[in-house]
Amino acid sequence: MTQLALVIDLNVCVGCHACVTSCKEWNTSGWAGPLVDQNPYEGSPTGTFFNRVQTFEVGTFPNTETVHFPKSCLHCEEPPCVPVCPTGASYKRPDNGVVLVDYDKCIGCKYCSWACPYGARELDEQQKVMKKCTLCIDRITDAKLSERDRKPSCVLACPANARLFGDVHDPDSEVSIAIRERGGYQLMPEWGTKPANHYLPRQKTRMHIDPEELTRVDNPLRREDLTDYTGEETLDDVAW
């Protein structure tokens, strides 16, 4: 079974929010109607986004690290938001594993948002229905688009190539290899929701050098025997 998902590389995400704006642009212009923006030009603009980039500081000064953390629906393999929906508006597509909301069936009771530990669902204050990342379902299933364009718009927009997209159930896909070989992990694994999206950890290239490695084994100038002899019998005296 196919399970489409994103793999987000925290090692290269620079926190530019290009994925946020391209997501908003694509999904506010689509067939499902706009994603609401309230007070867009005033002091406290707010609205519905499928994807947000948050920033965390790890460590204490001066040993700190900035982690830019893009956050969207993780398309769980055991989505806790789906069974709680009273109308069946929330569902997981059997053919590709994408978790979606049928905006025509949603009654806006917000129960699914309570049942998501990741806060991935946001109520559209204008349409009064629950919205969330669709993995750009209208792009990725559009056979008229070229193979290159048949990807979520956040993936296409990322200038650092921090977002990979593919089938995490196919062991040979780019995303599966990235998860396997670069330590991909899931968020809040303690809940057993099996998020399909994975994150690649930050990595530092470090070389570990033992002091012994600094001495060449075949160094002709190396003094091998460090014993100080004071005239006693040695192995050389008895072996010939």
Binding site: V20, N39, G43, S44, P45, T46, G47, T48, F49, R52, V53, Q54, T55, F56, E57, V58, G59, T66, V67, F69, K71, P80, P83, V84, C85, P86, T87, G88, A89, K105, C106, I107, G108, C109, K110, Y111, S113, W114, A115, C116, P117, Y118, G119, R121, E122, L123, E125, Q127, K128, V129, Y185, Q186, L187, M188, P189, E190, W191, Y199, P201, R202
Partner: protein, 325 residues
């Protein structure tokens, strides 16, 4: 969690309505067993009507919680998996049975239909009463399980949530039955008042156990598991929105912790000791106003109790919104 007034009124009004209905049926059962003097059918009919009005008011409040109330009928679809869907199905059944029970009493359809054993004459009102009682208890479970079934809200994910809803709802309903009996000058005040006090005390035990459990609760998720970085010092610097979002509005009560604690003291006083003392005092001085006051004091306390129930729950998504949390 953000305490929505729609849900606060929904759960408290439904609790009082179901409780009052259970009180009416209990009164009838005691009268059949000849522990109590038989009442006029109008007594049960009017009591059921008040219960029905409370249920209708609760249902009305629930519509304010929905973004798309015109689609509410769709909510009955997923009863196999969703407790909310189950509540949507059971609530109209309870309302229909309460209505039918009241109508049967009003028109005195009390001719025995059949007889069980030597003495028990089963009539339509008794049948409807038993069915309605079962449905009411099921509705209490459905309403409470909406909250208790969300495992991410660990403060709610306990059978104590169900026992709180059941006993506090039943207590306020019996308190209302006592108030109703006092208002019409019926001798059943003592009967209903005593049951209301017993249910209130059981509710107190349940709620205190719940508070004690939650005070010791260890949350499963931490900011480390939320973003997957293993370091003791993780501080959020940006939340990804300028003016807040649904996530910063729906999952936070937005009040100070000291207010939450003060309100806890207030509801613990209003729901439990004060109504019990008022009922006790009404026995001593034979006042008909005190049971009525006891009901309103307790109901006001229950509104605050439900507010606190929401405010005390901490959702794991709040880990992604540290500056609000």
């Amino acid at each position: 969690m953000h305490p929505a007034f729609s849900v606060i009124f929904l759960t408290t009004l439904l609790g009082a309505g179901q409780g009052l209905y259970l009180a009416m049926v209990t009164g009838q059962l005691y009268a059949i067993a000849r522990f109590l003097p038989a009442q006029a059918d109008q007594f049960y009919a009017v009591g059921s009507l008040v219960a029905l009005l409370l249920l209708v008011a609760g249902l009305g409040a629930s519509f304010f919680h929905l973004g798309r109330p015109e689609r509410a009928w769709r909510a009955a679809a997923m009863w196999r998996t969703s407790w909310l869907s189950r509540e949507v199905i059971v609530l109209p059944i309870v309302m229909a049975l309460v209505f039918a029970y009241g109508v049967a009493h009003w028109f005195e359809w009390t001719q025995p239909l059949f007889q069980v054993g030597a003495a028990l004459q089963v009539d339509l009102t008794l049948l409807l009463g038993v069915l309605g009682t079962v449905a009411s208890l099921v509705l209490f479970v459905c309403t409470a399980m909406i909250y208790a079934a969300v495992r991410f809200l660990q403060e709610w994910h306990t059978p104590l949530t169900v026992s709180n809803f059941l006993f506090l709802g039943a207590a306020s309903g019996f308190m209302l039955a006592a108030a109703y009996s006092a208002y019409i000058g019926n001798p059943l005040v003592t009967f209903y008042g005593t049951w209301a006090v017993i249910l209130t005390l059981v509710g107190l035990a349940s709620r205190l156990a719940h508070l004690r459990r939650n005070a010791r609760l260890k949350h499963k998720s931490t900011v480390q598991t939320a973003i997957g970085v293993r370091h003791a010092a993780v501080v959020q610097k940006a939340q990804g929105a300028t003016g807040g979002s649904f996530n910063t509005r729906e999952f936070f009560h937005g009040r100070s912790q000291s207010l939450v604690e003060r309100l806890r003291t207030v509801y613990l006083a209003l729901v439990f000791p004060i109504p019990v003392l008022l009922i006790g005092l009404s026995y001593l001085i034979g006042s008909s106003n005190l049971p009525i006051m006891a009901f309103f004091v307790q109901f006001a306390g229950l509104l605050i109790e439900r507010w606190s129930f929401f405010a005390e729950a901490r959702h794991p998504q709040n880990l992604y919104y540290q500056s609000v949390a």
